[in-house]
Every structure is written in C-alpha cells, then in structure tokens.
C-alpha cells in the first residue's frame, strides 16, 4: 500500500502514456484532459459489498421490468402507481419505442448507478444512469497500472479482480446478440468525451469499434462494412451514441452519427441495441422518486438500498415543503445530466433563491429536491498530504442471462474542498475501488 502511494506519480505518468483521457467542451472548444488519479483506493469490505450487490441487482431488475412494461402493457400506470404524465412528459420517453420488445426483454444492459455513503455508513442511491453511462474503463486501466507499479500491494491484499469488466460486457452482448452476428461498439468518434473508453472496451471485449457510416441496414439486418467493402452481419450494437442521434430517419434528422433505419430492424427484433432506446424514461431524475415503488410493484420485495430523501414538487404537499425549505435542499433539473443543473439552496443569495422559488412554483414537474446528505469524506493525497474530499461511487450493473454487479466501480472525488459535485466533466478525479474477497 505504501509503495503504491509513494509511486502515485509513476501511475499518473503511465496513464498519460496509455492515453487515459477524457474530452470536454469548454465554451464550445474541445479539450482533452487527463482524468487525475489518486492512488489511495476506496476499500469496500466483503460484507458491505454483499449488501450493495444484492440491492443493486434488485434495483436494476425492477428498472428493466419498468421499461418493458412502460413501452408495452403499462400496468404500473393502469394500477395508479406512477401518474401517467410523469412518464409521457419525460424527455427520455420516446413514443417511437411503443410496442418494442428488445432481445431477451432487456432494455438496461449496462447500468451505472451512482451512490454515496453518509457519515453513518448508510449507502444512498443518488441516480440511475441507464443510457450511456461511462467510466468503467478508468478503474480497469488504473488497476492494470497499479498492479505493475506495486505488485506487492496486491499480493498482500485480497482484492477482487476488476480487469474482467470486459468479460462481463462480452457476456452481456453475446447473450442479447443470440448468435445473430458479430458484436460492435458504435462510437460517435474521436471528439466524443469518452472516445478513449470506446476504443479500450472494444479492444478488451473483442468487439469491433464501428464509426458512423460503418453500419448499414439491409435485408432487414444490420451489417458492418469494413474498409474493403466486405459485409458482416451485426447481432448486437453497444452504442455510445445518444438516442436522439441513433436514427436520422426516426429521430434528429440532421444526425450523421447514427444508423439510418436501425429503429425498424430493432423493432423487428433483428438486432440488439445495448442499451435499449428510450431508457431515459427510467433514469429521469423525477422517475427516480418512484424506483422504490417499482421494486415493490414488480418484484414484491422491500428495497434493500435507499434513495436519498427526495421530494417531488409535482405533488402539492411536497411542493409546499420544498418552497418552505429551499435554502437547505439540493434542487435538480430533471432533464440535465453530468452534474449540470444541480443547485444547492444554501449557496444562493436572496435574489437567486427567489428566482429558484419562482421556477419551482411555475414548473414543478421540471425539478426534484433532495435533503443534503452528510457525505463520508474519503482521503486523497494532495501535495504529499492527506486531505478529505467528497466522493461518490458509480457501480456498474450488467444484465444478460443474469444480473451481475462488477466487483469494483468508479470512485470519483471532488478536488475542490467545498464542492459536492464529483463529475469528471466538472474537474473531479478518480480512485480505484477495491472490493475485498472475504
């Protein structure tokens, strides 16, 4: 452990050489930056992990059941568990997906579930990411490098393997591919913030990295065309292009990132799309409130993991509470991602507080409010000293034949001592996450 920490700079140098980067748009200009790594791992004990694992599997099973239901029978709406306008006015809901039953009935194959741990040790779910959650490659590669730099650390500690994420990914893709053809990872291209990850995962999982234009729909099937014009049938596409850009003939017409008419053959069940189209309706920050209800409704089980205490101004009673307690709550815009649209009431002056008050009052459906959780801080090393910073954990849950949780995760921390926002796009760093065996 000590060697690992002493050799922190060596690790970061290696990362730079491997090209572990993420891209960011600032004022419309593309920059690539290193994702700063901190060598002190987050350690999760075997017992603690067992509970987390169960809770995450339960949550993702319910979310998958919800997606299949909402685009088909809609029982949860008919039974009055979730108000209909909550679903149908969500930006992530696509009428174009009505009636679609994806391969093996799975919509959310790769879920990135963000959690935080409070000072008392309780884990809370912060948000579900069921569209294109990124970040799994960073701990994989960090582990690879740290094992090289400090092999002794891993001989002395029984840390669960995490370099097998690509095997889990392959297993999931193979299951929904169902022998139809090859697996591909569709990247929007070089200037996407997670391009490094797309190419890394393709290499490690044995999938072909496809760029826009490489995929074509013919004879009701999807084909990958290589540089010499040879065509090979594709059975599963792990796409890292957002829903709106996936099919210019169904969604955003100007998109050059997608595959024209892929929606038609997806609806016919001739290709698996990982993750499914239209998943945004389930990871909407407003729908989040209803996930514990989904667990009871679909699985008839009590939720194992807790949501952060959340209020929906959509309900009169909650709205009253939110407006009265605005200054102590976190307010989130339901349609924003990546740490954008998150406002802490206590940071607002009187004028901005009034502005926020009016916004919530006028457009209650657009916001959720949460109690501020007293995070358990994690130690990081800064200028040779240990300091404490806010951190979260993105757990990756993969659903194929079974639902499995990757025994690691992306621990992100805020480098700014006063900030609670840990997103990489907001300048945070990351740690490896050690899940202990026994």
């Amino acid at each position: 452990m000590k060697t690992l920490i002493e050799r922190k700079d060596a690790v970061n140098t290696w990362m730079e050489r491997f090209g572990v980067k993420f891209g960011i748009y600032k004022h419309g200009v593309f920059h690539e930056q290193l994702f700063p790594f901190d060598s002190v791992p987050r350690v999760i004990s075997h017992d603690e992990w067992t509970i987390l694992e169960k809770g995450l599997i339960q949550r993702c099973n319910a979310l998958n059941a919800f997606l299949l239901d909402i685009y088909n029978e809609k029982k949860i709406v008919k039974d009055g568990i979730i108000p209909e306008e909550f679903i149908y006015s969500s930006k992530g809901y696509f009428a174009e997906c009505e009636g679609i039953k994806p391969s093996k009935g799975i919509f959310a194959h790769i879920a990135g579930i963000d959690l935080v741990q409070a000072k008392d040790g309780t884990w809370y779910i912060l948000e579900d990411n069921l569209r294109i959650p990124s970040g799994a490659s960073y701990p994989m590669i960090a582990r690879n490098i740290t094992r090289k730099v400090s092999p002794q650390t891993f001989a002395n500690n029984h840390v669960a393997e995490n370099r097998n994420y690509s095997d889990l990914l392959k297993e999931t893709m193979d299951y929904v591919n169902d022998g139809r053809g090859i697996n591909v990872i569709l990247t929007p291209g070089r200037y996407n913030s997670a391009f490094f990850e797309h190419s890394y995962l393709a290499e490690k999982s044995g999938a072909i990295l496809a760029f826009p234009g490489d995929l074509i729909v013919e004879d009701d099937m999807l084909f990958y065309k290589d540089i010499s014009g040879n065509k090979e049938r594709v059975g599963a596409v792990y796409r890292r292009v957002s829903d709106e850009y996936m099919d210019p003939l169904t969604f955003e017409e100007s998109s050059v990132l997608g595959v024209p008419n892929i929606m038609q053959i997806y609806a016919k069940g001739n290709v698996a799309i990982v993750n499914g189209i239209g998943n945004g309706v389930a990871d909407d920050k407003g729908i989040y409130y209803f996930v514990p209800k989904m667990i009871k409704y679909y699985l008839n089980e009590e939720p194992i993991l807790k949501n952060a205490p959340t209020y929906l101004p959509y309900f009169e009673e909650d709205k009253k509470y939110v407006l009265e307690n605005l200054s102590k709550l976190v307010i989130k815009d339901v349609s924003e991602a990546g740490g954008y649209g998150v406002v802490f009431g206590r940071d607002l002056d009187a004028e901005h507080l009034k502005e926020m008050y009016d916004l919530v009052d006028k457009e209650p459906r657009r916001w959720i409010a949460q109690e501020v959780i007293d995070f358990k801080d994690l130690e990081i090393i800064e200028d040779g000293k240990y300091v404490e910073r806010k951190a979260d954990l993105r757990a990756f849950v993969l659903t194929g034949k079974e639902t499995k949780v990757w025994k690691s995760g992306l621990t992100r921390f805020s480098r700014n001592p006063n900030s609670f926002v840990v997103n990489s796009s907001q300048g945070g760093g990351f740690k490896d996450t050690w899940v202990m065996e026994e």
Binding site: K74, Y88, E96, E253, P260, N261, Q264, I265
Partner: protein, 257 residues
C-alpha cells in the same frame, strides 16, 4: 361502403448526383376495420434494398437505401380499397392527450376556444365541430402560407395556413382540454397532394373530423397514417450524401370505382 382506386407518386430531382440515399416512406393505406385493401403495389427507383415494417403508431412503412448515384428518385404506390365510415373503437393511448412542440397552445387560443365551447355538455364531437366552424373566422386557408415546421401557435397567430395547420391548431386546443386526439394523413377524391385531418376520441370511439373542410368524415377519405402530429406521419423522410438543391413533385389521384 365505397370502393376507391388511388395512385401516389413522388419524384425528387437533384441538381447534382447524390449517393447513399436512405429513405423511409409512409404511403400505403392504414390497416384498420374501416379500410379493406383489395389491391396494392409500390415501387422505389433506383433501389434494390427495399424493406417493409410498421411503426409504433401502426403505420405501414417502406424503408431502405440505395448507393447507386442518381439525379432523380421516384417512389410510387397504387391500389384499390373498400372504405366504410371512419370509426374506430379503441381506448386512447395517453400520448394523444399530451401536446407536442407543434401542438402547444397559447393564451389567445385558449381564449378563443373558451368563447366557443366549454365542452360542458360532454358532447366532444359537437364541441369540436363548433370549434372548427369558429376557427375559419380566425384563420383562412392559403396555400404555401406555412411550412412543415410551422407550429399551431404560429399558424393561429398569423391567421392562415393549410390543412396541416388547421389540424395542428385543433389538436392543440383539444389537448389543452385533455381530449385525446390524433393527426391523420391521407388522400381525398380528386387529384393533387395529400390531405391532413384529425381523429378525436369520445368515450372510447375515434371519430374523424376534417378541420379544413369543416365536416365529420364518412367513407370517402383514405387514411394513410396517424400520429401525434405531422412529424409522426410525414410521407417521406430521407437523408443522402451529396450537395445541391432538391425539388419535389407529388401527385395523387383517388377515384371512386
């Protein structure tokens, strides 16, 4: 019941050759109880990769792509259909009660509709027809006065539009009253371009109303597609590689046999 023969043809010509042309067409009759298809044919040229399916609204789709460089692209369909009164017994899907970007209302539209009817008498169809009549005092029909991207609010504010706009304005007003209604594209007897109208749900029954011609539709309209608004029903969508302008010519005929 009436029997009709229809022909439909769209020809797109380009200034310069285009390649990699991808398309999606909705130009075959809608499959439902009041329409029985007796004959049906279609063609797309130049193109070898042609596929069929239905979309999430139940509309028939023809889709595909061509990599053959071309300066003109033609698709056509023809057929014979038996049509009876446009009535469908079906509980409405929630999404037909919610506005889309093309079918939002503003204060003026709400004021206008409140003056005409409150829908208090529970007769939704009667109320809709009175609104349609009143709407013609606010908006006049004028060819080429709007585009496919014109919203209900824009059309209502400028006081003119075509069948698409009359339909969007009605949908916007009805949805504001939480009445389920949908946009319909189809053909009417005669010669020319496609037509647009609406269907309104009253107690589990969909009635067809033509806001442009101010009437309750019986059995002389041919329904092609349905959706929330124009975007769900567009007869042709395409993307291609190439530059230059494109010109589109549409020709439709429908005659009673």
């Amino acid at each position: 019941m009436n029997t009709y023969q229809y022909t439909y043809q769209t020809c797109i010509s380009f200034d310069n050759k285009v390649s990699k042309h991808f398309f999606k067409l909705r130009c075959l009759p809608y499959r439902c109880k009041f329409q029985t298809i007796i004959e049906e044919d279609f063609s797309v040229s130049p193109c070898k990769n042609i596929m069929r399916s239905t979309d999430s609204f139940g509309n028939e789709l023809i889709f595909g792509s061509t990599e053959e460089p071309h300066k003109s692209f033609t698709f056509a369909s023809r057929g014979i259909v038996n049509i009876s009164q446009h009535l469908t017994i079906e509980e409405p899907n929630h999404i037909f009660r919610l506005p889309t970007t093309l079918t939002e209302v503003n204060e003026d539209m709400i004021k206008f509709s409140d003056k005409v009817t409150s829908f208090d008498n529970k007769n939704i169809i009667q109320g809709t027809l009175s609104l349609v009549d009143a709407l013609h005092e606010k908006m006049k029909y004028e060819s080429y006065s709007t585009t496919t991207k014109t919203s209900a609010i824009e059309a209502f504010s400028q006081g003119k539009g075509v069948c698409q706009d009359f339909s969007h304005v009605m949908l916007a007003i009805l949805r504001n009253k939480k009445i389920a209604c949908r946009y319909i594209t189809g053909f009417i007897p005669g010669e020319g371009e496609s037509h647009a109208w609406i269907e309104v749900n009253d107690n589990g029954i969909w009635y067809a109303i033509d806001p442009t011609r101010k009437l309750l539709i019986e059995s002389d309209y041919l329904k092609i597609s349905q959706g929330r608004d124009f975007n769900d029903c567009s007869m042709e969508r395409g993307v291609f590689v190439g530059n230059g302008f494109q010109y589109k010519q549409v020709h439709i005929t429908m005659t009673e046999l």
